[in-house]
Point group: C2
Chain length 219, copies 2
Amino acid sequence: MNTPASFNVATDIVVFTIRADTLNVLLIERAGQPFKGSWALPGGFLNNDEGLDQCAARELAEETGVGDVYLEQLASFGDPGRDPRGGVVSVAYFALVPADEHALRAASDAASARWFAFDDLPELAFDHAVILHAAHARLKAKLDYSTIAFCLLPAEFTLSNLQTVYEIIKAETLDKRNFRKWVLALDVLQETGEKRVEGAHRPAMLYREKNPGTIKIIR
Amino acid sequence: MNTPASFNVATDIVVFTIRADTLNVLLIERAGQPFKGSWALPGGFLNNDEGLDQCAARELAEETGVGDVYLEQLASFGDPGRDPRGGVVSVAYFALVPADEHALRAASDAASARWFAFDDLPELAFDHAVILHAAHARLKAKLDYSTIAFCLLPAEFTLSNLQTVYEIIKAETLDKRNFRKWVLALDVLQETGEKRVEGAHRPAMLYREKNPGTIKIIR
DNA sequence: GTTGTTAGTGTAGTATATACACTTACATGT
DNA sequence: ACATGTAAGTGTATATACTACACTAACAAC
């Protein structure tokens, strides 16, 4: 057996949030080669003394200022031609940012970080379009069997807010009564007792998660 | 930004099969350091000119003679201490071998390859115990929402064979009538017309998949 | 006080999942 | 040829989960 090839290992993170009733993805404009000036997923190279999860969290914080959010490993991508420099294997992650935390920061190797509507994306560098669609598929699937969607909302939210998240990601409208019945039967929400007055209409009850940050797997 | 660290990237494959009504896993005895003499998952280093899936399939064939089986990426593992040599990131896969194909081969860097009962495993090298249990969890979960279990059976099988696979992996007994109703309602099987006489009892109808090799996602 | 807008609620029907026991067809042994 | 043992094969009733569907309530704005 001959000596194994060397690779650079990167993490790339698909960061989702909800803004203005659309699903948004965080992209950075590449400051360096290759694909200088192109939009790409935030991410960067793994260091010797850190784990993959740690690397993803660090790069996310460094490049975009996003921290302390839901972060899950998605899949790895290692086709020989995926990076023109060659020898780069990427471990993709996806992250969910609550709808009220949109403060961004640009950093060292990222000229700028920006939110894009998921259905109005620019051309992406590398194989990032593939990664992005894998992340979306995973997110969509997970809505049906977990409470992951709550990570896209602030601590307190209305049932309509939650339904909107589902409708946006699944790209279909849901029946209001059936949705509420379903979500309340999960037994993961509690009423705050407060109401939110938000326009020229009846105020909505506010809810919060019973165990904030806990993802419940359904069925 | 400083120059990125170098890694060796490996694939490790959790190969499942059914033997003698138990779930079995394929392990190799390590011929070289580290963990020389220990049991480990088959796998090996990624070459520069191949993709991850390709690497997993190649290593599986080289080390164990297993080829042309269901192979799916599981997850990646990259904790700094997972390999004493350091700097090794592993992309884990799992594979399903039909119950009738058990011919194994030992190769270059594997002293020997052997099937182990899943609930009677030896100590494993590296973090392979963690990987193995992740693979089992994934397999178990996928039984409920896909037709992946068929990959553990030969081309022709009885409904009892199939039920046994489910019972072994889920580690629970299932009602025969309900199971048959469920699986037939999936509309993925066809009767061969043949029967298998296999003991001092009524012969069982043989079935085959309507679209062999196609994994159907349920729900 | 009228209008517009979203919040909030119930019921009936359909489909799916569960619980449960006996008969059939063969091989084997007498 | 008959009795025995073994796994194959089959149906029905009940409970649970999903679907479809329309009106009233509470507020702001005018």
